[in-house]
């Protein structure tokens, strides 16, 4: 009788300890979640995130309002007309003061015969302030052109 009472007492003690430990952990988790939510939704955090969005949008709009330079449509049409394949075309900004928003054409993976690529050189190079194309026997056939101001104005 006494022995079973001791067992019962010991079992209750262990169970109470385990329950208290788990409850304390749950309490800490709830507090951490609540504090995290408060930090995330605080006006300071929202201000930071919304200001970042506004600044990004304003940068995009300011970029758009600069001269167009060259459009992706033009470059895709140009290589289509020249029957020269490509893997990737990216328009970038040289960052030069007064330059158009997108004034650098970078092409990777050109595919065409040397005659076709020579024709591309002849047609494109005069419209670029700087023009480079890797020799066709070298991979991955890069082309880069920083367009002259107004060189593509009629197409835009």
């Amino acid at each position: 009788m006494k022995r079973s009472f001791i067992f019962f007492g010991v079992a209750v003690f262990v169970a109470a300890n385990v329950a208290a430990g788990l409850l304390y952990r749950a309490h800490l988790e709830a507090q951490a979640a609540e504090t995290e939510r408060a930090v995330r939704e605080s006006p300071q955090a929202r201000l930071k995130s919304r200001r970042a969005v506004l600044e990004q949008w304003q940068r995009d709009v300011n970029d758009y309002e600069r001269r167009a330079g060259v459009t992706l449509a033009y470059v895709v049409q140009f290589f289509d007309a020249a029957a020269v394949g490509w893997e990737e075309i990216a328009l970038e900004s040289s960052g030069e003061a007064g330059a158009a928003r997108l004034d650098v054409i970078a092409v990777r993976g050109l595919a065409g015969t040397s005659e076709q690529l020579s024709r591309v050189d002849k047609r494109l190079a005069p419209r670029c302030r700087s023009y480079r194309r890797s020799p066709t026997r070298e991979g991955p056939y890069l082309l880069s052109c920083q367009v002259r101001p107004e060189a593509f104005a009629l197409r835009n």
Partner: protein, 181 residues
């Protein structure tokens, strides 16, 4: 002088052993719980509270709310000037040149988007000017500009286009993250 009731003594000793074992078990449980769970949680909580206090010290709540209202006003004013398009509209413009819109989703930066399309380079060259069409005077077009196109090396008729603009719904892809146009 021996124990008068040896049976009773052995019973007492057995009970004591159980109590010591239970104490050791509980101590081991608490130590394990502390290092595995409680300590990292307490550290997280401390870090979060420090961040909360630092944010409050850097910019008091009332001031943050005033500045947030001003930013929201500027965003609303910008949105009013800016046309918006839908993925359905983009799909229609591309379809006119036999280019199929497979998916549209927001890019990593605010205001950017990524379109996956299928068609020919010729069709794409014809369709892009329509997408980038200028808006009416004083307004910003939905698609400000497209800046990158990449051909899928395995499926050569597939292209991934990246641009900057405002697309109001993402019917062909999961919804955009908060704050995206």
């Amino acid at each position: 002088m021996g124990e008068p009731y040896p049976e009773e003594a052995s019973r007492r000793g057995g009970g004591l052993k159980w109590m010591v074992a239970a104490g050791a078990l509980c101590a081991a449980f608490w130590i394990g719980l502390y290092f595995v769970s409680l300590q990292p949680l307490q550290e997280d909580l401390g870090r979060l509270r420090a961040a909360q206090a630092a944010a409050e010290a850097e910019l008091p709540l009332a001031q943050a709310e005033r500045q947030l209202a001003a930013v929201e006003r500027d965003l609303a004013a910008l949105e009013k000037r800016w046309e918006t398009t839908t993925t359905a509209e983009l799909a229609k413009q591309l379809e006119a040149h036999s280019v199929t819109l497979l998916s549209a989703k927001p890019g990593e930066e605010a205001g950017t988007f990524i379109l996956e399309v299928e068609g020919s380079a010729h069709g794409l060259g014809q369709a892009l000017p329509e997408i980038e069409k200028a808006a009416t005077a004083g307004r910003l077009p939905a698609v400000l500009y497209l800046r990158r196109v990449k051909q899928d090396q395995r499926l050569r008729a597939r292209f991934r286009l990246e641009g900057v603009g405002r697309i109001s719904d993402w019917t062909l892809a999961p919804p955009p993250a908060e704050g995206k146009p």
